[in-house]
């Protein structure tokens, strides 16, 4: 059993704050400042250029990738780190389309995170050969899968509502229709057990600054199923994805397997911070995290619905049908969220009226949930949000 008292003690959360926004940016692992300072001194400072070999910087993207792989049900050496999630979307869609060259439709849903759609749109414009992005409502995805579709591009957990797609069923249906699948795990990795290999997913991508706690702008990851990895031709054919980067050939030759999804020089310092965050994950079982996450979300829903009738649940009530966040709709949700933050409960807001709360068992427990609801109830009952300050305060969350 995971000892969540121990994992909670590994994070540095300011006194008086109940942090329910780890679905947007995870908090600081206590060890990270010393760890990164030591890495700078002992590796960069002492080893200088030789750190690429001596400190293992060059292998870091696959070494860290393998640690992520264990959290998302991926095979050894099938995940590599680098770039941002947006770049990884581009790589995945470009490669997936080449595996299905006769078809022109990329199917997604309008609950997908916008950058997935934007990056796909940019790629389609470059390809300029009749590809089109079709977005349907999330609940209509299954029916829209047919043999005109080249690629199914979905974010497993909706960033607004927390609604969860059924990866196994949709992947099966896609494969039966000859469709290649790409799963964006931005709100899945570290939130719930993902089973990429078991679901036969083709590609997956994700970021590491949400539930994995890698810090602001920490690097993204990409998964390519081993059955495809030596077949895909990288659209972003950078030198570190080359078969022999230090031969400095003028011609590109893709590296072996997942290595070809590397692009440029790896972000060593950021990956070192992420490694510190992943050490905490070594203390946790993702199945325990999921069980406790559902309990915390269930408790929050029950208490809010009993005590805050002003709010309307906008997340699936069934734990199995959602990720690790709960959203409520409230017409004055923006001001209410600002008031909550001012009272120490940090969630976030998505227009037009969604108040989002992330529940992250590594550092959030039942006491936090009950305390947060007390504060929320007080703010709503006494209309503490109804001030000019809270209504106009700017926020990026």
């Amino acid at each position: 059993m995971t000892d969540f008292t121990k994992t909670k003690a590994m994070f540095d959360i300011p006194a008086g704050v109940i942090y329910l926004d780890g679905n947007s940016l995870g908090p600081l692992p206590k060890d990270a400042p010393v760890r990164v300072a030591n890495m700078l001194k002992d590796e960069w400072g002492e080893m200088l250029i030789s750190g690429w070999n001596k400190a293992g910087w060059m292998e870091q993207p696959t070494r860290v990738g393998n640690r992520i792989a264990s959290l998302i049900g991926a095979e050894e050496n099938s995940v590599v780190m680098g770039d941002t999630l947006s770049i990884k979307v581009y790589q995945a869609v470009a490669s997936a389309l080449e595996l299905n060259p006769e078809r022109k439709v990329i199917l997604s849903d309008n609950g997908n995170f916008p950058t997935d759609l934007y990056m796909t749109g940019g790629l389609i414009r470059s390809l300029n050969d009749g590809h089109q992005l079709q977005t349907v409502n999330p609940e209509d995805v299954e029916d829209a899968i047919d043999d005109t579709v080249a690629v199914l591009l979905l974010t497993e957990i909706d960033y607004r509502t927390g609604r969860k797609h059924d990866m196994k069923r949709l992947t099966e249906k896609a494969h039966a229709a000859g469709v290649i699948t790409i799963w964006d795990l931005a709100h899945s990795a570290g939130a719930l057990p993902v089973k990429l290999s078991e679901c036969n997913a083709d590609f997956a991508i994700g970021c590491t600054y949400k539930y994995l706690n890698g810090g602001p702008g920490s690097p993204a990851f990409i998964y390519v199923a081993p059955r495809h990895a030596d077949k895909v031709r990288p659209a972003l054919s950078g030198w570190l994805g080359h078969d022999a980067p230090f031969a400095f050939d003028l011609d590109y030759k893709a590296g072996r397997g997942i290595e070809r999804m590397r692009v440029g020089t790896p972000p060593v310092i950021a990956l070192t911070v992420l490694e510190t965050a992943l050490d905490i994950w070594d203390m946790a079982d993702i199945n325990d995290v999921r069980t406790k996450s559902i309990e915390l979300c269930d408790l929050f829903i029950k208490e809010v619905e009993a005590r805050c009738p002003q709010l309307t649940l906008d997340t699936p009530r069934d734990g199995a049908g959602r990720g690790s966040q709960v959203s409520f709709q409230f017409a004055d949700g923006y001001a209410a969220m600002q008031a909550l933050i001012a009272h120490g409960v940090v969630g976030d807001f998505r227009a037009p009226d969604t108040m989002r709360f992330g529940f992250t068992p590594l550092y959030i427990d039942k006491t936090d949930v009950l305390a947060a609801v007390d504060i929320l109830e007080n703010i709503l009952t006494n209309s503490l949000w109804d001030t000019a300050e809270f209504k106009t305060k700017s926020a990026v969350t």
Copy 2:
């Protein structure tokens, strides 16, 4: 006048090491470990998600971009940070081609760093409409510029020989022929004064871990001339390049000016390290750096040629015609470089026979140069390189 004694004191270079590889990876700024540890604690730890506003993380890519701009002769708000140099090559070439839609040739030279050619090749494959990459010898570039060329893609300083292209003359000739120019400043930024605006360059890109000392894998930059910035249509159309990222529109609308060259979430921690490195640049005048760099390189060439007849100069003798490195050819250069490193002089080697030495006035002075030549002379005169260990040792530099 720049006080190079003061700048040298700002770096943490191990005792007994003469570091002549700052053209590959700059050394650690002494302040970086404490600065990044404090940023993690005071910003990420204390502010959590609100750091995006309160700590200015969201504006960091343009804030840092403006500091780089001052070193490369670029206009205010024309440079933005992010991603890797490889990704920035892709963005620049894709945008440049769209400004010249009737032409199909991308002209480069075979002294360009391979990733520039690889990324262009990947883009051409995606475009799939007859574009071709033409690479000529560096000395033949000028004659190859004609009205069939869409884009001229050059690295100003050759990573092997240090040979410098004439940015002003080649850009003028390119423009006269209706060609859009892209300058890769990987070995220029921080090495010598670059005058992008004065030269009328169209696009420029570069990395920050060489002469700018941003650390292993520190973020890249891209410059777009203000006259083009609102016209280019980003191929990598990520959410943070959107005009209103936090509106979460389903449709992409490019942001204003250089902002549209942002892609995903900015690498905040790595940019913070880079900011520390740039503080040292605030103590230096790039013209003084150039003057001293030429002196140091001249001295090294003179001493090596006088005392090490085994080596053949492979860098332009005229200071104005090279960057801030000196290369010598030596048949057993690999082993000789390993022996040098073992004796505390760190340069690097590029196959088949090039020994590279970078000269970086911020932390290298004449005493270092003379001491390095003493050691080199000893190694060559006494064939200290001629051991099995030095001949077979593996290195990534």
